[in-house]
Symmetry: C2
Amino acid sequence: MTANIAAAKEALSHLDIEEREAAIRTASRDFFWYSPVLKDRLDHVMADFVVRPKTEAEVIEVLKVCYEHDVPVTTRGAGTGNYGQAMPLAGGCVLHLRNMNAVKEITPGRVVVEPGCLLKELDAACNEQGQEIRMFSSTWDTATVGGFIAGGSGGVGSVHWGSLRDLGNIIRLRVVTMEAEPRVLEFRGEELARVSHAYGTNGIITELELPLAPAYDWVDIFVATDDFPEAMAFADDLANQDGILLKLASVYEAPIAHEYFLRVKPHVEEGTNLVGLMVAPHSMDAFLTFLGRRPEARMIYRSDDHDWPRKPGKIFEYGWNHTTLRALKVDPSITYLQVRYAFPDHRELIEKIRAMFPGGEVMQHLEALRMGGKVAFAGLSMVKFTTEERLNEIIQMHEDAGAMIFNPHRYTLEEGGRQTVDDTQLSFKKEADPKGLLNPGKMIAWDDPDFAYDKMYAYPGMKAAE
Amino acid sequence: MTANIAAAKEALSHLDIEEREAAIRTASRDFFWYSPVLKDRLDHVMADFVVRPKTEAEVIEVLKVCYEHDVPVTTRGAGTGNYGQAMPLAGGCVLHLRNMNAVKEITPGRVVVEPGCLLKELDAACNEQGQEIRMFSSTWDTATVGGFIAGGSGGVGSVHWGSLRDLGNIIRLRVVTMEAEPRVLEFRGEELARVSHAYGTNGIITELELPLAPAYDWVDIFVATDDFPEAMAFADDLANQDGILLKLASVYEAPIAHEYFLRVKPHVEEGTNLVGLMVAPHSMDAFLTFLGRRPEARMIYRSDDHDWPRKPGKIFEYGWNHTTLRALKVDPSITYLQVRYAFPDHRELIEKIRAMFPGGEVMQHLEALRMGGKVAFAGLSMVKFTTEERLNEIIQMHEDAGAMIFNPHRYTLEEGGRQTVDDTQLSFKKEADPKGLLNPGKMIAWDDPDFAYDKMYAYPGMKAAE
C-alpha cells in the first residue's frame, strides 16, 4: 500500500491546502518535546501536506480522497498534546481542524461545538450565558476542544467533575469514518469510549456536545507551607469540603515555586511548598475559615486582593502540564511523569515515593481530582532527566511502589495509557478505518497484536529521518 | 422571673398580633407529632400570643419589649420541623417570621433573603436568573428558609453539597440579640456555628446570605430492584459518579413503596425496593448508560417520559422527612429515626442493622449524602411504634452497632444532636440572651449544665397542660 500523495493533493487542491515546507513542519509537531525520549524519536516527523477543512462535508471529502489514494491522515487541533498524539508518523496528510470552530448551540447545562474551537473561545461563548465548560487543559488559551477530547484525560475542573472518561463529562460525539464512502455516526453513552481519547485513530470528530457548569469569577489563590505533607493535606482536605466549590487544587513541592515560577519567586523561599487554587467567589468566606484553622498554611496571593507588583497570571497556567512547561524554560533537562495515586492510600504512597528520591531528582507536582467519587491525586512529577535507562528505572520504581504510570514518553495509546489493548477502540478501528490510515503507529493493537510491552514500541511504518 | 404577658401585648399592640385562641394554637405547633414521644409531651403546648413582624426594626421592638417584661420568645417560620424546634414550651410569645419574606439580592452564586421567605418562593426568584438554592428540606413547598437554616441539617441537594453545617453552605447570617438594647450582628465563617441550627435559642436571624447552584429542569426518576442491597448499591455508586449531576438519591426498602407510596403502588410489588432520583437533564444520557450496566435495576418512572396515568408528583416529596409523612397517613403507628451511617462502612453497617430487624419493625429509608467529601447515607428509618421503651431499645441497638443517632424523639438541641454541649452556641446564648428567654427548654446546657443524659430531659419550665 503506497500513498499517492500527488494524486490526493491534486484531488483536494480546491480546499485550503498548505504546501509550504515551514508551515507543514509546524503543523506536523505537537508538544512531544516535553519528553526527551519522544524528542529523540519524533523530531524529524513531517507530513506531506496539510489540509484545513471548513465543514464536515470537506472533512468527508478529504477522508474519501485520502482513502482512495492510501494516504495516512493524522488529525490535529492546536497540537498542544504531550504524547505525540498529533504527530504524523507515516507522513501523509495532516487534517487541521482549526477552521471548524463554530459554537453551534448553548442551552442550560450543555453546548454543541465544532472540534477546532479553542477552549478559550468556547468558554467565552458560554460565559455570555453564565456558563463555562466543566474542565479544560492548562493550555486553555491555545488548545482546541476537539484536541482536548481526543487527546486529553482531564484537567482544570477535574477536582470537582472527575475525568473526561467518567460518564457524563462528554454527552455526544459526531464522527466521520475513513472508508471508501465515509459514514457520519453519532455516539452517546457506551459508544463514546470508541473515539474519545483515541487520538483520532479510528474516526474524525466533527461535532461535540459537552456538559456545562455555571461560570464564576474564580479567585486564584496561592497558599504556602514549609512542610510538603502539610501542603498535600491542605489541598486534599480542602477538596473534600463539600460546601467549598473549587476548580483547581495543585500542589508543588519545594523548590518548584522558587526555581521555576519566576513571578512567584520573590514571594517564596527555596523551601516553600505551594498550593495553587481556584475558589468560587461565593466560597471565599468558607475558604478563609478553612484556612484560619490551619496555622501552618499562609495565603500569599489572592487575585481579587493582592499587592504583587507583577501579577502571576492565571493560576491554572501553573498547574497540570504547564508546571513542566515553566520548569523546562528554566532548566531544559526537566521532564515529567504522569502518575495516578488512588484513594485511600494516595498520601501515604506519595510520601513513600518522595522518600525514594531525596536528592531532588523527582519533584512532586500533584493535582487533586475526583476518581470514582473520591478525591485523590494525579501526579505530574517533574524529573531531572539524565538517561532513558534511568527514566525507565524511575518509572519502574513508581510502579513497584504501587502507583499507576501513564507514560508520557511513549507515543502509542496503549503505552501512554494502561498498557493494555482497548478492545472498544480497536474493534471500532477495524470497522471505521479498514485500511489503517488514521494516525498510523499510535495503536499497537492494530499494528502488532502480539506486542509484549517489554520494551518501547517502535512503529515500523515511521517515516525515516531525511 | 414572671412574664408580664399583658404588658408586653399592650406595648406591642400596634404590631400584627394574633390573639385568637385557635390561631395561637396553630402557630404554637410544628411537626412534633411525627414522634409519639414528643406528641405525648408537647401536645398541650401553647403560646400566649403571636406577633408577626414585618421588618427587622419590628423584630427588635418585639425583643426589647419581651425582654423588659420577661416574656419568652419562640421563633418560627412555617413550623415544619420534627424535633419540636418551634414549640413555645414556656408559653409567652411566638415570633412568626412569615411576613419577613423579601428576596433582597441575587448575584451569581449567592442570594440575600429574609428568613420568612418560603423555600419555594426563594427558588422561584433565583430561577429567574438561572439559579437555585443548593439544598432544601422536602417541605420546600411550605417551609421557610429561616426555619430550614435554624432548624434543619440538610436535605435535597446534600448528595452533592453535603450538609448545612459544612463550610460554605451558609455565607452570612444577620442576627438580633435578646437584650435590653438588642444588638444587630453579622456572622460569617466560624461565627455561623453560633446560631445556625440553634432553634432560635440565642438570637433571631433577620437576614441570610446563601450560596446558589445552577438551576436545571431536574428529571425525577424511580428505579426498582428486587434486592435491597442492590438498590442501596445503585444509589451509592451513582452518587459516586463524578460526571453525573444529582440532586437526590433516596433508597426505600420494600415494602415502603408498595405500602405507603399510593401513586407508586400500581407500578411495584410488595417486594420492590425503590430508588428515587433527581438527575440533571444533561446527565440523563450518562445516567441511562450507568443504568444499562445494571440489569438488576429497572427504571419504572422518569418525569420527562412516562405513561403513568396519575403522576407521582415531585420525587423529593417522597424523600427525606416526607417518607415518614406518607407512611403516617397510611399507618398512624409509624414513626422514625434519624441515623448516620458513615463512610466507608456505611453499606455493611446498614445490612448489619437490617438483619437485626427481620420482621419489618424497622424499615430502611436511606438518603445518599456527602460527608467530608465521601458519599455515605443518612438513615430516616421508619419504625412501627409500640412503646417508648422499645423505641429506646431500638435506638440503643443502632448505637451499639456503631450508627450515630440524631434522636427525633427529643426536643432539646443536645438530645436531637450529638448529645454533647455545644460550647459555641451556649457561650453565645450567655451573651445574647442573658435572661434565657429565647426558645426556652431547648438547650439543656443552659438549663442544667450537669445533666447526665441518662434519661430524656424534661424541661422544668414547661407550661403545664390545662
